[in-house]
Symmetry: C2
Subunit: 246 residues, 2 copies
């Protein structure tokens, strides 16, 4: 089938390279690369086992082992009637303010965070209004790049009232873990979801092609008493994320 020609030609090249890694692992890894750079997109249906085997001159067992690994890692899912589909998007619930890290872990993915900025600033009128503070109040500005399974997926800026963070250096991968350890419990959230094209800074920060839109999530997290704990603006790769609201 001509629609897969680009994929087959690419896989053929990759598999022809000399390597001591088992063939099925290199095959699986090449599929993941194709997902990462957008050659294969979310919900795309992959060729069948026989077609892969014939086009790439590899055994059907190799194809099956690769697909098994990709399924375990959540890169593909198999369904009756649809065959094997790419699953490149990370589902994030807007309902529970669990934080991305915990949601990633719950889904068997490995979250990571690189902090770009942790600094105490005086908030402007807009942030003050969101957090129920007067303009100029002390807040922590936290800015980070988030990773899921080693891939940069979003840039997030948060503002937290100063009284909730004694020492920002103690915040590790997850701000919400820091909160929970101190019995600060985000229980509800309000989110605004929009989309736009990434600006140049964002393209560079998360190695995002200029053609991939970003989902912009503005979220306010509150505790059980309705106190605002965190206001955040996240810029998320639209090819990696889907947001769930119930």
């Amino acid at each position: 089938m001509t629609e897969y020609n680009a994929l087959f030609s690419r896989l053929t090249t990759t598999l022809a390279e000399a390597s001591r890694t088992p063939l099925y692992k290199r095959f699986a890894s090449a599929i993941k690369d194709a997902v990462r750079d957008g050659t294969l997109v979310h919900e795309e249906i992959l060729p069948g086992e026989r077609e892969f085997s014939q086009s790439l001159s590899i055994s059907r067992i190799t194809v099956r082992k690769a697909m098994d690994e990709l399924e375990r890692e959540g890169v593909v899912f198999r369904s009756r009637g649809y065959g094997t589909q790419i699953c490149s998007q990370f589902e994030y619930s807007l309902k529970e303010p669990k934080g991305l890290s915990q949601q990633a872990v719950l889904r068997g993915k490995k979250p990571d965070t690189v902090w770009i900025n942790k600094s105490k600033i005086h908030c402007n009128a807009e942030i003050g209004e969101k957090l129920g503070l007067s303009t100029g109040s002390d807040v922590w500005l936290l800015k980070r790049i988030r990773y899921v399974d080693q891939q940069a997926v979003s840039v997030e800026e948060s503002w937290v009232p100063a009284r909730y963070i004694a020492d920002a250096d103690e915040i590790g991968i997850s701000l919400y873990d820091y909160f929970r350890q101190r019995q600060i419990m985000p229980v509800t959230s309000q989110s605004r979801v929009s989309a736009r094209m990434p600006d140049e800074a964002l393209q560079q920060q998360i190695a995002l092609p200029a053609t991939v839109p970003v989902l912009v999530i503005k979220q306010l997290a509150l505790d059980a008493q309705g106190n605002p704990l965190e206001y955040s603006i996240s810029y998320c790769r639209s090819d990696m994320y889907v947001f769930i609201a119930e």
Copy 2:
């Protein structure tokens, strides 16, 4: 300020045209055109009254009357400290399955619908699964272009189990009005929000520039007993919509 040069030059041209419409109305209308074609974007801050007046050689009273009208129409909002900002996005709550039409009316906007397709079909496996029906069951496929204040904002495809619609010709602007008149009450919904670039068909259907991403909302609406009433996929201009989840 140089940043407004393109806007001023455009407004100057428009206002110089001969017309019997009052100047302030033509000024307001030119601002709306600039929002519609993306020259002015959501949350952009407009020049001040004095700057408009000097650059366009019109009176400050004319500027003020135009801004008053734009504020009444929800095209701009004024805030202390920020000045006058463009408000081009339509807020849509994911929480209550009220339907776009009712939400638009509640916000003082005028909704409209152009039906592209109303036909009874046999559902495929995916739609059947969403609606709790077996593959091949009768469902109504409803496809429409939605307008808010005469501007095309989204394309929506819905699938409704055949038993909920006796005569699809009786559905007017709002499917949810049709439901309510028959005591069919959508009370909860599950939504998946993602974003992507518009394909050519979509660009043509709603006159959308190829550079504006679309928000893709997949929503299942259920009644109080948890019966699926409607599964829909909406493709919404990202420069016109923001989705709210609480």
